[in-house]
Amino acid sequence: MDNLANVQVFRIQVLAIIGSLALVLFILDLIRRRKLKEEFSILWLGMGLVFLVISLFRGLLDKFSILVGIGYPPAALFLILIVGLLIILVHFSVAISELKESNKKLAQQLGLLRQEIEEK
């Protein structure tokens, strides 16, 4: 019985390592193919690395849970995940707002220039 539990823990650990590695590699490949700008990759890479570290060193999650006072260590995993995603989403909102502003300026300048050209 004890043996079976150990095998299961080992399995999930291997899966977690593979998953985290896959995320990091996938992001790196997107940068390599110029599909993703470095600016937007940092947060994803950071999250991938955090998960990689957590899955490599099993005791870390327990220590972290005790530190912040979470009784059930897997819940700490969700906390880290959600906080990470929140940061990324806010970053997106900022990026979209910047895009909207530059988009507006472009449209205004285009309109003004077109009027100037057509008047001549």
């Binding site: 449209a107 205004q108 285009l110 309109g111 003004l112 077109r114 009027q115």
Partner: protein
């Protein structure tokens, strides 16, 4: 500078107003002979730009897509700034502002009593007063204005306005995207500029329907309050 030597421009933001823009431009030409006219066609899908383009003397800036009233009006400010206008008035293309009353707005700017003048439909009785949610919102803004600015602005949502060169310059750099009118009052006051109201009469819509219903009004209020709140947090730059 003598008022006669000032370069004046009428900015007419228009979004799908092909039915009314012609009459509005004719009115401006009749009552504001010394004004150049700039129509900002905000990505209209109807014939607004063509109709405006056939009016002699009216210049048309066509935006490639719809920016919303804020982006359109700001385009007018950018144009005025670029071409060295001393004075601008903003007149809606839907016909609710009366070109004959532009003079009322102009007067305090010419006398250098204000940097921006707002035409208010609530200072005197009569005329179109807007729908119930709009009126409620305007009341709330009025109380906010009194509390925060000590200023009695009775019709802060009115887009019938006159600006001097200082206001044009500031607003060409900073102007909100949507529901910009109440916020613009704060932007100017924050820079120590003078905002004045004069009574005008407004007509009801001649065509089309206001896009602002109940939820629109709620969003309008939340957005403006948020903007005002943040404006007071932001350091003056």
């Amino acid at each position: 500078m003598l008022p006669a030597h000032m370069k004046k421009i009428a900015i007419v933001p228009a979004y799908n107003e092909e039915k009314t823009v012609g009459a509005v431009l004719a009115g401006i030409k009749e009552f504001c002979r010394d004004f150049d006219i700039l129509v900002v066609d905000d990505g209209s899908t109807d014939r607004t730009a063509e109709v405006a383009g056939t009016v002699p003397g009216a210049r048309v800036v066509s935006l490639p897509f719809n920016l919303g009233i804020g982006g359109a009006v700001q385009t007018g400010f950018l144009y005025a700034q670029k071409h060295g206008y001393d004075l601008a008035v903003q007149v809606d293309a839907d016909g609710q502002h009366k070109p004959a009353e532009v003079r009322l707005l102009l007067d305090p700017v010419l006398k250098d009593e204000a940097d921006m003048v707002v035409g208010s439909r609530f200072m005197e009785k009569g005329g179109y007063r807007g729908r119930v949610w709009r009126r409620l919102g305007i009341k709330v803004f009025y109380l906010t204005n009194r509390l925060l600015l000590g200023e009695k602005i009775t019709d802060s949502t009115s887009g019938f306005r006159a600006y001097n060169v200082k206001a044009i310059s500031l607003l060409s750099r900073t102007y909100p995207d949507d529901y910009p009118e109440p916020e613009a009052v704060y932007i100017l006051k924050r820079r120590g500029m003078r905002v004045l109201e004069v009574p005008v009469q407004m007509a009801g819509r001649q065509a089309g329907r206001s896009s602002i219903g109940f939820f629109g009004s709620m969003y309008y209020m939340v957005k403006v309050f948020l903007a005002i709140f943040v404006l007071f947090l932001r350091r003056q730059d």
